[in-house]
Symmetry: D2
Subunit: 199 residues, 4 copies
């Protein structure tokens, strides 16, 4: 059977975040702002403390995401330092987002006239992961525009599903032949709206 991503049930409680956004994947550590004192990469739970309080209560966990995908890590994912290479996380993003578009939005990557191109992506790495750990990707939509959509993603790893990375990913929908931006097809838009979540 083809594995499918998991879509949270409508009655699932995904709005646990009433506090201001702090460590979610769209409150990112910009390159310029990284301070090694604040950013303790391998401290596990409490990795960022810009407000002096623990981030654990406001960092999304996998079940906070409306759509999730489980991926087996691969031997080749590990790099010379023994961790899953930073590059591979973008492959996890790509894989999760397109699986969502195929399953929920009717995207046919072989034949659809309208396809989605990545125009921007970013990732923050908060802890290492390594093959053969299982990888879990949580996906939500942050914002839908006329032709573009911004996704928010987090990557979790291993038995404890610890959060290892988070990032964003922007798709622009284009006509496959002309490469011109086009309005998001209605079926895709409905799917995107169904996982738009403001935590």
């Amino acid at each position: 059977m083809t594995q499918k991503g998991r879509l949270a049930k409508p009655n699932q409680q995904t709005t646990m975040f009433s506090m201001p956004r702090l460590a979610s994947e769209n409150m990112t550590l910009r390159g310029e702002e990284i301070d090694p004192r604040l950013y303790q990469r391998y401290s596990g739970v409490l990795f960022l403390s810009i407000t002096g309080q623990s981030m654990t209560d406001i960092t999304p966990s996998l079940q906070d995401y409306p759509y999730t995908v489980t991926l087996a890590s691969r031997w080749q994912d590990n790099d010379a330092y023994g961790h899953i290479n930073n590059v591979m996380y973008y492959s996890f993003f790509d894989t999760a987002v397109n699986r969502f578009l195929i399953e929920q939005g009717g995207l046919d990557i072989q034949n659809s006239q309208v396809v989605a191109y990545v125009v921007s992506s970013q990732c923050q790495y908060v802890a290492p992961a390594a093959y053969p750990e299982t990888i879990y990707v949580g996906l939500r939509v942050i914002k839908v525009g006329r032709s573009s959509v911004t996704y928010g993603l987090s990557v979790y790893a291993g038995d404890a599903k610890r959060r290892v990375a988070h990032g964003q990913f922007v798709h622009v929908f284009v006509n496959r032949q002309s490469d011109n931006a086009v309005p998001i097809p209605s079926r895709v838009r409905e799917a995107l709206d169904s996982i738009t979540e403001g935590f």
Copy 2:
């Protein structure tokens, strides 16, 4: 939870092959011998007919393998022709074999003094597969030597678990520091013996 490969139960019937080896992964199509009339890549069931009889009854299916691993395909696996690229199948082999060695043979890829290097590999591609199909890898051991082991593998894809590729993969066990071949550690050898299968 970390996904694990599946080890067939001892009482599983895996010896359905009393006929001579014909289309199993170690009766391969050598480069020199390929004849397009015999090798109908996209005909589905009956792809090879060197004896004039159907191969379907002697082609191993996933459950014929003593160890199996399930992998999610990734967007990046598909190449410009829309299929999972031939290169990726070797990543599937690598991933399945090392997962077996880690789970069943106690291999610690970070710390073990004895690790396994690939010295030879081969693959025959009998049908296309494409992301987002689920990938299944069947693994057995064909032969164990003093320092080396030859694995037999088949790759299956999609809901019908159709067989898309098969191949071999040879590991030599070496001392990590010296790179010299060493005898296979006893725990690994036991694990390898447990999935040695002569179909």
Copy 3:
């Protein structure tokens, strides 16, 4: 012969940017701000016009970068849409940055006690590229801290060396055993300083 990255000569004119930073790789298009009217992905020269004037005079070209690396693209880089996959650009970043650290900073990826981990990365894609085009990566350092460094990169493709992507990449230097952040080794810092450039 091992190919080496190219380090610009000290007398090279690399300070052509007296205008305010606009379209350089660190004035990025954040996901939230993308506007399809402004962002004409395939229009070639003039792709962004937030100020009403052409960006061509302030977009860095390959020779504006103090360190450059040439990479052959690979068949596998192209994805199902026939372009170099967005994921691969981060591999280009990784490859260029580490080659610089090895060649100019004395990094020994097998033995150095202090190595560099990626903690943040981002990329904006401004035009497609495809195998078999040659890839050129321009690298500079934007900011060096006590333990971390922020790199700015642009990717160029093909005969005309058109600019296809740009981004940032943040390394934190850590002790390989403890994974704790450590001060940047002096030889590495010197190398980083030598390509720090404020365009």
Copy 4:
């Protein structure tokens, strides 16, 4: 400028092998036949001695190949053991073969009605290589059939261009829409004939 593969001049002496084929890439070590005493993976020059004499005089060097491609290795090529992963060699094969078909045979991977699918591949690994070493691929054609072609390849690495791997790769030419095997187009066949070499 787009890097191109190098085609040997017609007057180049490439027929130095009057001795019987021994260690060339099509006299491979089949999985079943590997004997660790004969196969000294890291001994450098003399790695195989099945006839009791040195193989060095009959092992092809890069300049023996009629077509060669130079590739930069990438950070991501190295695996957890610090070597270029076995999988990547097939990417080197794929990249070299398709570049030849594009440059010399007129293959248009976006538009050609007839494209080439890999149906079989194999590789033997005789020494390790590692990023950031430069990679050199030597390519020849062993045999051309009606619809299929068998390539012979060797991979060389580093300043000394030491031979690190060799293998074979079989393409079948198919109609892109129907996936049916078709005769090799005449322009491609001419190109293939021009690098058919029997060492």
